[in-house]
């Protein structure tokens, strides 16, 4: 992982917007004591402190007193408090015991109610996120299915060329709807490189259909949008290019398939 990538993870983490796999990845780095990740996080944290400290506002009177009262009232419930000797019990009249029992029950009801409602708030939040994610996945899947069901969709098989003879790929291509591309058996691209897919129509210059990378098993995929001005594609090809892709192919060709 390079510095910029760590910087991006740290910035998102400090801002509170990191999620899913990236969140797990960055937390693993922090847990492992990764010096770059910890330094990047400290820098982001200090910046946000600077931002907050630039606009202080006097806290309302009473909050501090309320806190100190709360602390004084419940010293024993502090999980991090060092263990202190228990106060010696003195014989007490029954009445205060009953009263304090009733108060404790009331307090417990309030606390339980509050914690249940806050648990539900969190749960609702998580459910709303899950639903949004599922909807997005569903939309993507529906787009794929629509392409597969359309008789106008072409299926083009791409075969591996000398840099990766074992590589194979399929392109499901629909001129109006776009396409789905799946490749297997490709080597992991070197640092700073990625695979770029090209559509070749007639004798025109190849048109970029997007950039993709592959996972550890050599599999990669790409959702391709309709290419403006490209109707009848004769061939698809994959070359190795700098990350982000180029307007025209420059690197070695890894896959080629004619329709």
């Amino acid at each position: 992982m390079n510095r910029d990538e760590i910087g991006e993870l740290a910035a998102a983490y400090a801002l509170g917007g990191l999620e899913g796999e990236e969140l797990a990845r960055f937390e693993a780095l922090l847990e492992a004591g990764d010096a770059d990740a910890l330094r990047a996080l400290r820098e982001c944290g200090d910046t946000l402190v600077g931002l907050a400290a630039a606009a202080p506002e006097p806290p309302p009177a009473g909050v501090k007193a309320a806190l100190l009262e709360r602390i004084a009232a419940a010293p024993a419930t502090r999980p991090s408090a060092p263990t202190r000797p228990l106060p010696r019990r003195r014989p007490r009249a029954l009445w205060p015991v009953v009263l304090s029992g009733a108060m404790a029950a009331g307090l417990a009801a309030v606390v339980v109610g509050w914690s249940v409602s806050s648990t539900y708030e969190k749960r609702l939040d998580a459910l709303a996120r899950d639903a949004e994610q599922l909807r997005a996945e569903l939309r993507a899947q529906q787009a794929v299915i629509a392409i597969l069901r359309d008789p106008a969709t072409q299926v083009v098989a791409l075969a591996g060329l000398p840099p990766a003879p074992a590589a194979r790929a399929r392109m499901m291509w629909h001129a109006q709807a776009g396409g789905v591309f799946v490749a297997t058996g490709l080597p992991a691209p070197p640092e700073g490189k990625a695979y770029q897919l090209w559509a070749i129509a007639g004798t025109n210059a190849p048109v970029s259909a997007g950039v993709f990378t592959v996972d550890a098993s050599g599999t990669g995929s790409l959702a391709v949008r309709p290419l403006p001005g490209v109707s009848a594609v004769n061939a698809f090809a994959v070359t190795l290019e700098p990350v982000g892709g180029l307007p025209a192919p420059s690197g070695d060709m890894y896959l080629l398939g004619k329709s």
């Binding site: 998102a12 400290r42 400290a53 006097p58 806290p59």
Partner: protein, 193 residues
């Protein structure tokens, strides 16, 4: 140097004392950092009563969780800022949801006026000239990403959707924006002393 210099020895020492159950240390830490925390909470929550409640919850957590503070991850102030921001955003979300779920007809405009930061917080901020000037020195796209993340609590993919930009662009802007902000705030701190 201001007493809020991040990572200053005193705030770290105070947190350690709080973890050991020292109430005076808690009071001093509150005096030192509550204005910063409250300014931030107020930036997220317009309602002063809700902001005061959140402030109390945040410092209650400080008292309870001080032993879990990890200095390798940042200063006590950064630890506090994260908590204040998270709590304020949680509150903002729950108020919006309650307005939507339980109050019947949705009056978004009322909910917005009451709880949401204005569309462009840096413009409406009244006496928050330093935040304004620090953020104002960022290019607009970087500033939007930081505001949406930090003051409205959106995740990066939510920001990407809201702005109609690729996720990678949002990530880069967040990083560059914070780097730039760091330079700006560093320069201001120097010129203020």
């Amino acid at each position: 140097m201001s007493p809020l210099a991040p990572g200053s020895e005193s705030s770290a020492a105070l947190i350690a004392a709080i973890a050991a159950g020292d109430r005076d240390a808690f009071g001093r830490f509150y005096d030192l950092t509550a204005p910063m925390a409250f300014g931030l909470i107020r930036r997220v929550l317009r309602d002063p009563e809700a902001a005061a409640e959140v402030l109390q919850e945040v410092f209650w957590q400080v008292w309870q969780d001080a032993a879990r503070y990890d200095p390798t991850r940042g200063s006590p102030e950064a630890w506090l800022v994260t908590r204040a921001k998270t709590r304020a955003i949680d509150r903002l979300r729950s108020v919006r949801r309650r307005d939507r779920t339980f109050v019947g007809p949705v009056d978004e405009s009322v909910a917005r006026r009451r709880e949401e930061p204005a569309e462009n917080p840096a413009v409406v901020a009244d006496d928050r000239s330093l935040v304004q000037s620090a953020l104002a020195q960022l290019p607009e796209p970087q500033r939007r990403v930081i505001e949406l993340a930090f003051f409205e609590g959106l995740t990066q993919s939510e920001i990407a959707t809201r702005l109609g930009e690729p996720l990678g662009t949002v990530k880069t802007r967040a990083r560059l924006g914070l780097e730039r902000l760091r330079g700006v705030l560093g320069a201001e701190r120097l010129s203020a002393t």
